[in-house]
Homo-oligomer: 405 residues x 2
């Protein structure tokens, strides 16, 4: 029997950060940068107006005021994206839009709000300081600056900077493609009428959604019968498509283990008992010519989910190139009591309630209690050596929400 930490290390050692891939910047949100990003040009890349108004020479407006406005002829008009061919001389104004290049000769911009907005001539009702309302070339970023380093997590704000400094595609660690397969002859598609002894497949939907919430590009396969040849055929289809294959079911202690047999025919696999509840039977290995990692979870949905959180979410994050693999453990006071097996870590489903407290959910903590799982937003982690938690005790808790709630 392995500890959770021992087994997690084995699983993490079996996967590697994915090789980098050049992708258009429309596709990199949520990826990790696989190269340093340098500015191809300065930001701003030319002196430009920070306001809609008029480019002027500030000395011309020294005496301008509400009661005695200065009137200047407007000799040109510069929209953003255009450049004035005129050189501004003393006693002239050029209409200018926010972001448009400063015309030669001008040293300041007077905002339109301080004028009558005229197009032939403009009446200006205020003076301005020399250099007002100009954004200077390179004041944000200089050409050649390292703007983002390899290993940076790329979100919307980083994409904006990468685009602005001139990169339409960049090298990133791509999202792992994760194929999710529930196995078991008892499984039918949800929505179909159940014959006696059969159950709806829920694992593949659960694990696909959880993998996507973990930053994978996960897809669900239809449930597979407990048939070694069929399983081999399904897995062979995936070994050139997926970066990771996750299966559920077929790895317990029983007599029928076509999943184990299929794994071993296609590659290597090892199966372990892990000192945790739920989630004891676990397995991992690699399959196909490319030695694609494969991880198999217990078939019970609650066990599968706890196992996903404990082993596969960290593995996906390692494949994504992230440094922090595990969700943080926080402290909370429990309202309610729990028994726990002294020789295993228990992951008890719970929900956060007022005052930073947690309470266990579900009619019991049996590994089949899906009703409770759907009410849970936390897992209470009860370490080995503890057999009972009393109401009011301080416990260690993982917040399992995320995604977009």
């Amino acid at each position: 029997m392995l500890t959770v930490a021992q087994y997690l290390n084995l699983v993490l050692d079996s996967v590697t950060e994915l090789p980098p891939m050049e992708l258009p910047i429309s596709e990199v949100n949520g990826c990790v940068l696989a190269e340093d990003i340098y500015a191809r040009w300065p930001l701003p890349s030319f002196n430009n107006s920070s306001m809609d108004g008029y480019a002027v020479i500030s000395a011309d407006l020294v005496d301008a005021s509400e009661s005695s406005p200065v009137i200047l002829p407007v000799v040109d008009d510069i929209p953003a994206g255009f450049k004035s061919l005129e050189t501004l001389h003393s006693g002239q104004a050029i209409r200018i839009m926010t972001g448009a290049p400063m015309p030669a000769g001008a040293d300041s911009v007077i905002p339109i709000e301080s004028t009558d907005g005229g197009s032939e001539s403009v009446q200006i009702r205020a003076s301005i300081d020399l250099g007002s309302c100009i954004r200077h070339e390179g004041e944000d970023v200089k050409a050649g600056d390292l703007v983002l380093g390899k290993g940076t997590f790329i979100g919307p704000r980083q994409i904006a900077l990468i685009a602005a400094v001139g990169h339409g595609s960049i090298s990133v660690v791509p999202k792992p493609r994760v194929a999710v397969l529930a196995t078991g002859s008892e499984l039918v598609e949800p929505g179909t009428e159940l014959k006696f002894g059969l159950i709806s497949d829920s694992n593949s939907f659960l694990i696909t959604a959880a993998a996507n919430d973990s930053g994978a590009d996960a897809y669900r396969l239809p449930p597979a019968q407990d048939d070694e040849d069929k399983l081999i055929h399904i897995l062979e289809d995936q070994v050139h498509r997926a970066d990771l294959i996750v299966t559920t079911g077929g790895v317990s202690m029983g007599a029928y283990d076509p999943v184990k047999a299929a794994f071993l025919k296609l590659g290597t696999a090892e199966f372990h008992k892990v000192a945790m509840q739920p989630g004891m039977p676990q397995g991992f290995g690699s399959v196909g010519d490319l030695a694609i990692p494969i991880i198999t979870l217990p078939g019970n949905p609650v066990s599968a989910y706890i196992s996903f959180e404990t082993f596969i979410r960290p593995a996906i994050r390692k494949m994504r190139g992230l440094g922090t693999l595990q969700r943080p453990l926080q402290s909370a006071t429990i309202r309610g009591e729990l028994n726990s097996p002294v020789d295993k870590v228990q992951f008890a489903r719970a929900r956060f309630i007022e005052g930073g407290q947690v309470e266990p959910v579900g009619t019991g903590q049996g590994s089949h209690v899906l009703g409770g799982l759907a009410q849970a937003d936390a897992l209470i982690v009860i370490p080995m050596g503890v057999d009972r938690i009393a109401s009011g005790d301080e416990v260690r808790v993982i917040n399992v929400t995320g995604g977009l709630a």
Copy 2:
């Protein structure tokens, strides 16, 4: 000039929760449930074994022990998904897999670990309590139970329950399709060489990624020139595709406002100055026969981002049917100082540092400073009436990370 709260209310009033849509459960992760979900059958839907082992009559094992095992003939073998046609009688065992239906006559399951795992006959080395290792029909969920209520946020754990109680498709509030269009004749695709006066479009990538991180199904359109007819054509393409159109640029105080003109030709629009920095010029309305909401943001990327966070993210969340629209404000101590316009709310870019402190980032807080924005993971919100924040002051902060970092 409107306050941020006044303008936010106008924007929120201009959008509505999207009408519900029936979707397969593979497509509902991150959606809000638009109907109550009832169990079509109990969970478990039949008495089944919680272990791989042997179905027995517990009274037969009263004297079983390590030193004096009981030996029983194995009269049948039940994989998961199959039903035994045999009725178990006293003195017999039936091999059974986890999840398989209990055979008639059996009252308990002895785990395989307490046996020799035999297939013709089995040697059992322990006694068990009556009813051991059986999951009883309906002990988790009863047929007809309300398992999840309308309005529930659907994540992986909820999808598992919905699948398990028999629903292959459900009614949800769909993800809003958001079309993102940057406008401005100065914009070119990132990666192309810049001619003088032009800049890389970064806004559309920024806003598309931020909208996706807010739970939208957002897509980017190529940048549009400042040309009223072309803009009308582009918007007409989208009014039957998008649930919300977001544009950037073209709403400042200047002389060229084809964006305003295009909005007004296609529907209604209003433009406001909002007492915030950055982000003052804002506009919203609705376009086309279906009165699709449209929101336009300032063209400067930092202004666009702050405006997105302040107005559009809450609007998208309202369209998604969520109750909580805004990110929480938290308290933090600032390291560093900031000036702020007394008549506006300032949203200063900052990053979290050790000890729950925040420090301003970027070479300045000008609205063009993209380098600083990419370093930020927080916005410091400085209210109206405050013109200066000193190092060590307590400030209100929004954590703007999310997504999958």
